[in-house]
């Protein structure tokens, strides 16, 4: 089962370090336009959200790929094989989250591969806004809600 | 004597300042504060409790204790002390 990147917008400070290190890891150049993670800043709300591939179980990008360039590997990551890719860009259209990209300059498709397990965006994020977890370990939101309720009840009873 | 807290130390103390009976010196005062707010212990004192911690600034009457007698700086009721974590600005 693939590791899962988890985003906490409350912690994101809009510095775009993730974009820098991601582009460098995959292209050996610092270029946010070639990053698999993109940071969106909502000025009025003072909220910033990093967006990246979720390694969908039902991956449209892989399903639509006519040459098998996009395939799930043994670790569960949807990887992109440039040798098989004909750059038809069907995957770019198919991904409902916009997480498969096409570079005009490089004439190539790129998407998140979790850095072969190294997940640079999470490792280098200064605030912990991006972290990598085992899907089984993603904090259960029901549990968190229950924790809060318990605390509230304790306070009232005390 | 008056003890003032700055920056995140205010959250630990839950106040901007407090009055304490003046102990003999700064080291003794750090002990008093650590007893009252145990969270201070590892911040304002070094590991064996013999000197101040690395990341704390302590001033007596506006003078850094490094330029007085360090933690041996004597205190009286008329003195005032400020303690702050290491911060900076520009």
């Amino acid at each position: 089962m693939a590791k899962q990147l988890v985003v906490d917008p409350k912690k994101c400070v809009a510095c775009r370090t993730c974009e820098l290190v991601c582009s460098f890891k995959h292209n050996e150049e610092f270029n946010p336009r070639l990053s698999n993670v993109s940071v969106f800043h909502y000025e009025e709300a003072a909220i910033t959200v990093p967006i990246m591939c979720m390694q969908c179980d039902e991956a449209s990008c892989a399903a639509i790929c006519p040459t098998g360039a996009l395939k799930r590997n043994a670790e569960g990551v949807i990887t992109h094989d440039a040798n098989k890719c004909i750059v038809c860009k069907m995957c770019v259209n198919a991904c409902p989250l916009g997480n498969v990209s096409y570079s005009v300059a490089k004439k190539k498709i790129f998407k998140c591969d979790l850095c072969d397990g190294e997940t640079w965006c999470a490792v280098h994020c200064p605030t912990g806004a991006i972290s990598v977890v085992d899907p089984d370990e993603v904090p259960d939101k029901k549990q968190l809600a229950a924790d809060k309720l318990k605390a509230a009840v304790e306070e009232v009873c005390a | 004597m008056l003890v003032k807290f700055f920056a995140t130390y205010r959250q630990i103390a839950g106040c901007k300042s407090c009055d304490v009976e003046a102990p003999q010196d700064v080291l003794a005062l750090m002990g008093v504060l650590s007893e009252r707010w145990p969270e201070f212990r590892n911040l304002i004192l070094n590991r064996d409790g013999t000197d101040k911690g690395d990341d704390v600034i302590i001033m007596v009457n506006g003078r850094h204790i490094e330029h007085l007698d360090g933690v041996a700086t004597q205190l009286t009721e008329e003195d005032y002390v400020a303690i702050t974590p290491l911060v900076a600005g520009g």
Partner: protein, 603 residues
């Protein structure tokens, strides 16, 4: 285009008179000798412009320059420098800014831009990778920084914008260049120079990248530096939580927070009302970082429930918090936040503006400025008068235009030049040189006039970083300041933020620089470039006709009335002698030929 070793290799030369745009190769020899950004921008400027030039004439040039680390994963690498001769001081003006604009310029394929001449009508430069064009800005002229930025984003899409407000258009002497809305190339009036050229904005969109010479070594050095910053209490937690304004209480505690134009000493019983702690309680929404920054000291702030004061924006930083706070005797933090918003929205330097209002308050209270000149009473502590005057200055209305001249010209006009808290006509920032001796020496010797970010002596004298020095003594200050100034010149020139130096030092700055540009120079050889930059700036200033290194008479003669530094004046002469000796300059503060030869500096 040779994208590699931290550089793109291309400079844009824009002649606004002719309307021509040229792409030329970066002068790699100068880039090597003067590092980048502040140093390289100044070198280009000195090569091309007569030091006697009128700063607001078409003969002057305006340079935007990035550094070799700008836009890379080096720590806090979002910086660029705007360089020209300052209309406020008449000496070199180099102003540094963060945000996202600098990196985007490199991604578009340019290390810097040199603007020459003057456009016939208002224009803006639009850079979209290879496509670079001058477009009509008639519609934008007369508008503030935020509406202009929004209009250009609406028109050009995902771009980054550097622009001026209406004060810059009018040549207001300390107008700033603002990028990404609230980030300022703040001091010395670079915005006025831009306005004098009828250049309203620079818009940039870049899809290219920046490469470094030794990728593996570079990531190792950058990761090391970033980790140190994250683990350091100041850069890892303090600045993010409480911002720069957290210094208010601490500086006040040592008796170094200049109160009411310095008239009433440097200790204020109301300082806490204007502190970083207070800002968090009252106006802070969240903290925010510039490009690639682990520190994230920026303040996103909001004013609500204050009627006409209501607003949304960023800041204030410690300096503006003081200039509108203690300097004006105003402890209404909402009014301080508002005055700072106005500065951001219209592109004005809040240090100079707040200090000039403070100077006007003192002149008014002593009867030197008649109320009829201002239109209303202007007493210390009057928050609404302060905000009103700031708005009038932004709008070029009435007495606001006199405030727009800066405190030196204001005080001179009313017969009391000694009451301007400025050095070389630029206002000193928020630390009193009587209570903190070394920072006074920095103000006196800074190459751009009264300024704290050329050699931040507060670090050793108040915070104990990297060594603890007694703020009241003079010994050792000259030599340490020299090293700080050289290191700062280096840091600014690489393209990373000066705030990184709270957590990292020369080995980490030099380490990242070496791996990016592919150099095998030692730390000392790299620091020597900082010293070369400092001496180049000094040489330019001498040719431009710089005034001597001194402080306002208040700091030299009026002893502090209270606080821990009670009875102190600045012992400048003692420190100056040590400083000149450390610099190997003459006793008059002139670089010796021996020093210039050592630095291979010809100018």
């Amino acid at each position: 285009m040779t994208r590699g070793n931290g550089w793109i290799g291309t400079i844009l030369r824009v002649n606004l008179t002719e309307g021509t745009i040229k792409k030329e190769p970066l002068n790699m020899q100068d880039a090597q000798d003067y590092v980048g950004a502040r140093g390289l921008g100044t070198k280009y400027y000195c090569n091309e412009v007569d030091p006697k030039v009128d700063p607001l004439s078409p003969e002057n040039k305006l340079i935007f320059m990035t550094g070799p680390l700008t836009g890379t994963a080096a720590c806090s690498s979002g910086r660029y420098e705007v360089v020209s001769k300052s209309p406020l001081t008449g000496i070199i003006g180099a102003a540094n800014s963060g945000g996202h604009f600098g990196p985007e310029l490199k991604y578009a394929g340019y290390d810097g831009i040199i603007f020459e001449g003057k456009a016939e009508k208002p224009v803006y430069l639009n850079i979209d990778d290879e496509k670079v064009e001058l477009l009509d800005a008639t519609e934008l002229w007369g508008q503030g920084v935020h509406p202009v930025t929004e209009a250009l984003e609406a028109k050009h899409g995902k771009v980054h914008v550097a622009t001026i407000g209406t004060p810059g258009e009018r040549g207001m002497l300390y107008a700033t260049v603002m990028n990404d809305k609230n980030r300022a190339a703040g001091r010395g009036g670079m915005g006025a120079v831009m306005g004098s050229k009828n250049l309203k904005a620079v818009v940039v969109r870049g899809t290219g990248g920046v490469k470094v010479a030794r990728p593996e070594g570079f990531m190792r050095e950058a990761t090391k530096a970033r980790t140190m910053l994250r683990e350091h209490p100041v850069t890892g937690a303090g600045l993010a939580a409480l911002g720069t304004e957290v210094l208010v209480n601490i500086v006040n505690e040592v008796g170094g927070l200049p109160l009411r134009n310095g008239r009433d000493g440097s200790y204020w019983d109301k300082a806490d009302d204007t502190s970083g702690e207070r800002l968090v309680e009252t106006h802070l929404i969240k903290n925010q970082g510039c490009f690639g920054c682990t520190i994230a000291c920026g303040r996103v702030t909001k004013i609500e429930g204050r009627g006409e004061l209501d607003g949304f924006g960023e800041g204030p930083e410690y300096e503006a918090g003081w200039s509108y706070g203690a300097a004006c005797g105003v402890n209404d933090i909402g009014a301080i936040v508002k005055a700072n918003f106005i500065c951001n929205e219209q592109g004005m330097d809040p240090i100079t503006l707040g200090s000039t209002v403070a100077c006007a308050m003192e002149l008014f209270e002593m009867g030197a400025i008649p109320e009829s000149d201002i239109g209303f009473p202007l007493r210390f502590g009057d928050a609404m008068a302060m905000v009103k005057l700031t708005q009038m200055c932004a709008d070029g209305e009435g007495f606001g235009n006199i405030i727009g001249l800066g405190s030196y010209r204001l005080a001179e006009k009313y017969g009391h030049p000694e009451l301007s808290m400025s050095v070389k006509k630029q206002e000193m920032p928020a630390y009193d040189g009587r209570a903190i001796q070394g920072i006074g020496l920095e103000y006196a010797t800074s190459n751009r006039g009264g300024c704290h970010v050329r050699g931040y002596m507060i670090s050793p004298e108040v915070l104990g970083i990297p060594i603890k020095m007694d703020p009241l003594v003079t010994e050792g200050k000259g030599a340490l300041l020299k090293t700080f100034q050289d290191l700062t010149a280096l840091c600014d020139s690489t393209g990373i933020c000066l705030f990184t130096t709270f957590g990292i030092g020369l080995p980490e700055i030099a380490g990242q620089y070496r791996e990016a540009v592919g150099s095998d120079e030692t730390d000392e050889e790299i620091l020597l470039k900082g010293e070369r930059i400092w001496n180049l700036e000094k040489r330019f200033n001498i040719e431009a006709g710089v005034e001597k290194d001194t402080l306002p008479p208040r700091l030299l003669r009026e002893a502090l009335p209270s606080g821990p530094a009670k009875g102190k004046v600045s012992e400048l002469q003692t420190m100056l002698a040590d400083y000149y000796e450390a610099r190997n300059w003459t006793s008059d503060g002139i670089p010796t030929q021996e020093k210039l030869d050592e630095l291979s500096l010809t100018y």
